[in-house]
């Protein structure tokens, strides 16, 4: 991959923006708790790609990899906790539809 860094950044950047749009859309348009978590995962994927890309472009891959590894560990722990909360919510409501969860309103 020996091309001008600017061009590379721009092409990857466009795709990162598009993937993020997917993730945001997924969170906004769904009524399903698990699907919201999946949308968040897609967003994190986009962020991971951007960090790795930044590391590649600045020649600092070691730092970028260190950051990504930490990030992945945190992400997993967060998903475990979220999964636990979703399971409990299902036990109370017998559904994971957010439209049924409107007891709290701003």
């Amino acid at each position: 991959m020996s091309v001008e860094p600017l061009q590379l950044f721009w092409y990857f950047g466009i795709f990162i923006i598009l993937i993020s749009i997917c993730g945001v859309y997924c969170i906004l348009a769904t009524f399903n708790l698990i699907r919201a978590l999946i949308g968040f995962e897609i967003l994190v994927k986009a962020a991971t790609l951007l960090i790795i890309l930044a590391g590649y472009l600045t020649g600092n891959q070691a730092l970028a990899q260190a950051l990504v590894i930490t990030l992945i560990v945190i992400e997993v722990v967060m998903m475990v906790v979220a999964g636990g909360i979703v399971l409990w919510l299902y036990r109370y409501n017998q559904t994971i539809d957010t439209r049924k969860l409107s007891n709290l309103k701003g």
């Binding site: 993020s20 950051l67 722990v77 979220a82 409990w88 709290l104």
Partner: protein, 476 residues
Amino acid sequence: MVSLFILAPFAAALILNLLPKALTHRLAFWVAAGLALAQAALVAFHPLLFWSAYPDPLGPFFNLQFSLDGLSLVTLLSIAIVVLATLVAGRYTITEESKRFNFTNLVLITLMGMNAVAMTTDLFSLYVFLEVCAIALFILIALKKDKLALEGAFKYLILSAIATVLMLFSIALFLLLSGGVSFSVIYGALSGSGGGFLAKLAMGLFLCGLFIKAGLAPFHAWLPDAHSSAPSAASVLLSGMVTKIPGAYILMRLVTSVFPLNPQMQNLLMFVGVFSIIIGAQGAFYQHNFKRMLAYSSVSQVGYIVLALGCGTPLAFAGAAFHLFNDAISKTLLFVNACCLEKETGTVDMDKMGGLGQRMPITNFSCLVGAFSAAGLPPLAGFWSKFIIILALMQAGKPVYATVAILASILTLGYALVMQRKIFFGGLADGLQQAKEAGIGLVLLESALALVVIAVGIGFAFMYNNFMLPVGEIVF
């Protein structure tokens, strides 16, 4: 020395979980409270020089790259006081023993996270420790495991996750622009090139993430839900410190040592601050739930801090740091009052309370002190910090913002009085004939916090000279 603030709670949490349960369930509270007390005492009675005089014993093997300055000291002191209050409140309101043990451990984890955030010098580590706090808080909010608590926790989780992603994008862009993620490297890169489009984008994304985490005005929807559904003791921690760390401390740290303030960002911060002040104050007016009202009040108080930061003069920074401390204490006091009221009456609905003034005189008095300090009545602590902030705004030539700040303060006084009337004055409401003061521990805690608020108000000169002036100095 400095790394002890994290390693000591960490060691304590590990040991507590390794020893047999019969022993540790009783010990846990005392260990945790002792740690918080030790932190408060160490920070309060030792000047900054003390900390730099002793190098870290672990330094050669394990370099945490922490540093301390005046701002960190104020934050560490506030954290210690709030955590202590949370632990005491948890001890007397959570009845089940195993739940209380888990609660204590989670509070210890939050303590580590917040301490580390207050001392770190690296943007990515900042994110890591913020996540530590956030994960511990999801579990704390869900601890009751009833429907509302779980929904509040899930809402907080999704919004916090979005904030996290925004911060990650911003960190990646900073990495691209500067080749590193520590504060000094980013500062060097940004001040060198002045910052083009990407730098502005990165700053904007990070600020958005922080605003969501702090519950500032356009993104404040999750805060009242999380507060009203969490166990009372956990909401002490949530409101007392956790929303103030991103809203106040990290913002201050960023504008002093990561990206220097420019006029655009000043305007943005001041606008968000004023918007939060107004939205929070008017939202608080219409609430019937005591804890929701306090949550909205929290939004408005963090707004004051952000407004002061946007002003950007040393005086304003000192005022912001002072307000951070004062609001942490007075919100903690009010939420401890909420704990007492919930314990005695079984509800946090203000319409169902009334006439409790005779039954709970100390709660009445301390609630009055807390609310008046939040509203900024002299000579309580809150008056001085708001006074400094407004003075700084006037000096900086922003009379409009200053006027809004004063008016919102009057609004705060208004809802504080409504709250007092609904809860404590008038005839005793039905079904509250059994209400009395809520046990010696909580009463002592309330009176101690009220005393702190009054003492800081009266001994304002001491606090200002020893803690706030150093904060103003680090800026310029």
